[in-house]
């Protein structure tokens, strides 16, 4: 692929030399930054040789030309017109569901057990679900104990999903122990929100 791109580049340079510099500006594409849904910082840099252009506003665009990126403004209408098919083929965004547990156990809270039904129903709607179940604990106890508990919680949820009709081969279960508390606490603190399993559905 890289070789092909380089060959195209070389052919263009050869054409330019033959035709004189004025004939050199050719265009081979456009890039448009789209608005960010979460309002986070977002940007794309466009590098060509030693030239760099930063697109950091919604619908900021650059035409990609042989003489460097040419900045301009695009619009929702242009994006819809030129990129409708690519955007329509976008896979569903990965979703994360969080379930909670009774302290020191792999028993789901009542509310979370009910939510597992909802999650399983959502997963069933995916044509090819790809699921990662990640177990976590609060910060009471040693790493050894919490690693085992986190793993057990993840397995419990995995089993719960398979009992609700989700194919086991599509689910990977892992434990992270107490390393990633959602609520930062001192070691040894019991925190219900940290006793959780996150189900990532892609």
């Amino acid at each position: 692929m890289l070789r092909l791109l380089r060959r195209i580049e070389r052919a263009l340079v050869a054409a330019c030399v033959a035709g004189g510099l004025a004939a050199c500006a050719t265009q081979s594409g456009t890039v448009v930054l789209l608005p960010e849904q979460g309002g986070r910082d977002t940007a794309v840099t466009v590098r060509q040789g030693d030239r760099t252009l930063v697109l950091d506003q919604p619908y900021a665009a650059a035409d990609l030309t042989s003489t460097g990126p040419q900045p301009r403004a695009s619009s929702a209408a242009e994006v819809d017109r030129r990129f409708a098919a690519a955007l329509a083929a976008q896979p569903a965004r990965p979703r994360v569901y969080t379930l909670y547990f009774v302290e020191q156990t792999d028993t789901l809270t009542d509310e979370s057990r009910r939510m597992l039904d909802t999650v399983a129903a959502e997963i069933a709607r995916h044509p090819v679900p790809d699921i990662v179940v990640v177990g976590h604990t609060d910060r009471v106890g040693s790493d050894v104990v919490n690693d085992a508990l986190a793993r057990k919680r993840a397995e419990t949820v995995r089993t719960g999903l398979t009992q609700r009709g989700i194919a086991a081969e599509n689910i990977v279960a892992v434990g992270r122990g107490k390393r990633e508390p959602i609520v930062p606490t001192a070691d040894g603190v019991a925190e219900p929100l940290n006793r959780r399993v996150e189900i990532v559905v892609r």
Binding site: A25, G29, V32, T42, R47, A89, V128
Partner: protein, 156 residues
């Protein structure tokens, strides 16, 4: 003459074995979630028809026909989707799921592509790039579209 033919055969066998070994050990890096119309994957010299559910690997070249499109979810949650008459190459992909560190380089030589960046770009801005015939896009985040086509005269 006989020796050189033998040598050629041996080299061919070695290359085949190497290609096969790399296929057998290559990790799956993403999955095709959406496919419409004729979509193919070029892998190790073979052209495979692509269907929803198929896993993609490093160095795969994904091609869509006229009226076709494809959507891929990568292991780091980045989403790539290509419109008709596109050629997208997954040149390099490394991802550590624990640290979110990694590297993802793709190329669009022709067609249209929509990108939502994932954990690699979030952890290390510009660790994800998309190469086009003229430029390299460094992805800080998160959503953009890019087209590529054979060079034509630029409007002045």
């Amino acid at each position: 003459m006989g020796t050189s033919a033998q040598l050629r055969r041996r080299i061919a066998a070695a290359l085949f074995a190497a290609a096969f070994a790399s296929l057998a050990t290559a990790a799956d890096i993403g999955q095709i979630k959406v496919a419409k119309g004729p979509v193919t994957i070029e892998r190790g010299g073979q052209t495979l028809p692509a269907a929803v559910g198929m896993r993609v690997q490093t160095a795969d070249v994904v091609t869509t026909g006229a009226d076709a499109s494809v959507g891929i979810t990568m292991g780091d949650n980045s989403l790539l989707s290509a419109g008709p008459n596109s050629t997208l190459s997954l040149d390099r992909y490394e991802f550590d799921a624990t640290t979110s560190r990694g590297r993802f380089d793709a190329s669009l030589s022709t067609g249209s592509l929509a990108v939502v960046s994932g954990r690699i770009a979030k952890q290390s801005p510009e660790a994800m790039t998309v190469r086009t015939p003229f430029a390299i896009l460094g992805v800080r985040g998160t959503e953009f579209v890019v087209s590529a086509h054979a060079p034509t005269a630029a409007p002045n």
